[in-house]
């Protein structure tokens, strides 16, 4: 068991290293660099910048060095907690991201909790009452949820939120709290706004996990071990929870990391549509401006979140299923 966890942790570290290389290459992929995009912007503003000036800027920022040197320079800083400098914001990357990352995390985890809190009970209900009216309604809602694009749902909820509930359109705060210090009232105000992006980001995942739960549970519910346990005299609810539901959790838990990927990769678009003050719009802006260190740090953070999600789901699976545990012990 311990060895299995150890192996898993080591492979996670290797994966992170690989991911950091890929992240760095990714931000280099678009043609040009920050110096070019800076020159372009100035040129549009009517200011003429000579090639020499661009080259000089490139040299000052270290962009003319070979890629691998730039990478090691960057990753060395990251390991020491220094994510580099955002040329666009003229501030260290960690400062720029820091104030927004909390909101991104809050959004991602609220969405995860929303997804499972809704999907699991509905999936169980649908399986136990297969072909009932409730099951049919949930199935229909599930398909609609799967089929609706996130940005569309975001626009609809935005409209509903401001028309029916009088919420300020978009954002995570009402205007009076937007720049205020953290307080209980501000937190409450955030929760009142948070549900919109949570619903938008979580709907597809909820629908998917609901279908997974229903299908797996239907498979398990007539298995021999369930009937054998029922023959022992256990109550139906306890039976359901202890035997088939616990078994049906396996595929749910193993897709946890993947679900987190979906949420995180869907978040920037939704954040843009809803104009959320989290890392989403920042990320897009960084990519457009070729603000290299900022974009790199964001990609790295997103990837690390996904890798951690996968790790957590693997560890949960180990804890849930003794067969996997024993497989590893051998």
């Amino acid at each position: 068991m311990l060895r299995l966890i150890g192996e898993r942790l080591i492979s996670t570290v290797i994966l992170m290293a690989a991911v950091s290389v890929v992240a760095f290459i990714l931000i280099q992929l678009p043609p040009g660099d920050f110096a070019d995009s800076y020159a372009n912007k100035k040129a549009q503003g009517g200011v003429v910048i000579t090639l020499e000036e661009v080259d000089e800027m490139r040299n000052k920022l270290g962009l003319d060095r070979p890629l691998y040197i730039q990478y090691f320079d960057w990753i060395g800083g990251v390991l020491g907690g220094d994510f580099g400098f955002s040329w666009e914001f003229h501030r260290p990357v960690s400062d720029v991201i820091g104030e927004r990352l909390g909101l991104t995390l809050a959004l991602a985890f609220s969405t995860l909790i929303f997804t499972y809190l809704l999907a699991l009970p509905i999936g169980i209900y649908s399986a136990v009452r297969q072909y009932s009216i409730g099951d049919h309604v949930m199935t229909l809602l599930g398909y609609i949820g799967l089929a609706t694009p996130n940005f569309m749902l975001a626009l609809i909820l935005l409209y509903v939120g401001s028309e029916l509930f009088g919420l300020s359109a978009g954002g995570l705060f009402s205007p009076e709290y937007a720049e205020a210090e953290w307080s209980l009232a501000r937190f409450g105000d955030m929760l009142a706004h948070l549900w919109v992006p949570v619903v938008v980001l979580g709907t597809a995942g909820t629908a998917f996990q609901m279908r997974t739960m229903r299908a797996t549970l239907l498979d398990e519910i007539n298995k021999m071990y369930v009937i054998a346990a029922r023959a022992g005299g256990i109550s139906e609810f306890k039976l359901l929870m202890k035997y088939p539901v616990r078994m049906a959790l396996n595929p749910i838990v193993s897709t946890l990391g993947w679900e987190l990927t979906n949420i995180i990769s869907g978040a920037p678009i939704v954040a843009l549509v809803l104009s959320l003050p989290d890392t989403g719009p920042l990320f897009l802006q960084a990519l457009l401006n070729q603000d290299m260190y900022l974009a790199g740090a964001m990609i790295l953070i997103y990837c690390v979140l996904v890798v951690i999600g996968t790790l957590v789901s693997d560890l949960l699976l180990l804890w849930l299923d003794p067969r996997i545990r024993l497989e590893g012990a051998r």
């Binding site: 007539n222 021999m224 071990y225 009937i227 346990a229 029922r230 299923d321 003794p322 024993l326």
Partner: protein, 329 residues
Amino acid sequence: MDNILEVSDLEIMLSADQGTVDVIQSVSFKLAPGKTLALVGESGCGKSVTAASILRLLPRELEITRGSILFRSPDSGEVTDIAKLAPRGSAIRDLRGNDIAMIFQEPMSSFSPLYTIGNQIGEVVQLHRKVSKKEARDITAGLLDKVGIPDAWAAVDRYPHEYSGGMRQRAMIAKALSCDPALLIADEPTTALDVTIQAQIVELMQELQQEFHMAIIFITHDLGVVAQVADEVCIMYAGRVVERGQVRDIFHEARHPYTRDLLHAMPRLGNLEEELVAIEGNVPGLFDMPTGCRFHPRCAAFMADTCNVRTPDLTQVSGSHIVECHLYD
């Protein structure tokens, strides 16, 4: 009522998309305390459905539509009609695993792979007896030891996939015995096992029957096992009991053509020259039951205008030997 179980005129219907149809029709039998009744027949004849109905473990689409299943509690002497209980109610749950226990055909899949054997047996112990977790564990280990599982105290904490098939069936028997049941229903307990293990399991069940003074309903299609364990035998065909009697009635005085065919299809040691005779055809499907006697399309003694027209009446051959066939009307 002296018997521990009396099933009379049991009828079970299946609701399917094609309509409703009976799966079990006019099934009756009695079982005295401490005795063994064998339910015998080909696959699909309804023996497992009959057995499952006694614990109300039928799937939703199967429903008891007629008849009674009277069970007399050995402690209080109180008689319950199981056919009238709610299939998910607390009354039937009190009987399950406590007064009536059941073991199943597939030992490989009768335990959840997610919990230890000790957890799953201890669960039944704790449901029906007022004991602590620790005491339940001790009882479980004692049971595993009793059914011949080596190193029972360590085996309690093992998972099902660490047991062999034979060991799992022993553990299943231990679970069934955990609350000292008056009636044990064994649904083909040896079918999925190797021949040598089969003999051990049958022997174990016989020993335990003596010790616990249980009545057993033994479901099988293996007549060799029937001869070894049964006091009484019900031969089932297409959802009906076609012949029933003491074990010697069936083996030496078989009347129904189907029973005779079954006996001829059974290999016997010492009779190497004797040719085995297969029974032509198959058990009819639920939705195309033959009219009259359900066995007539496969019957060697078929009488036109009688067998395919009327359902035969029950004829008493002797004492407890009953047959349902037009040959004896």
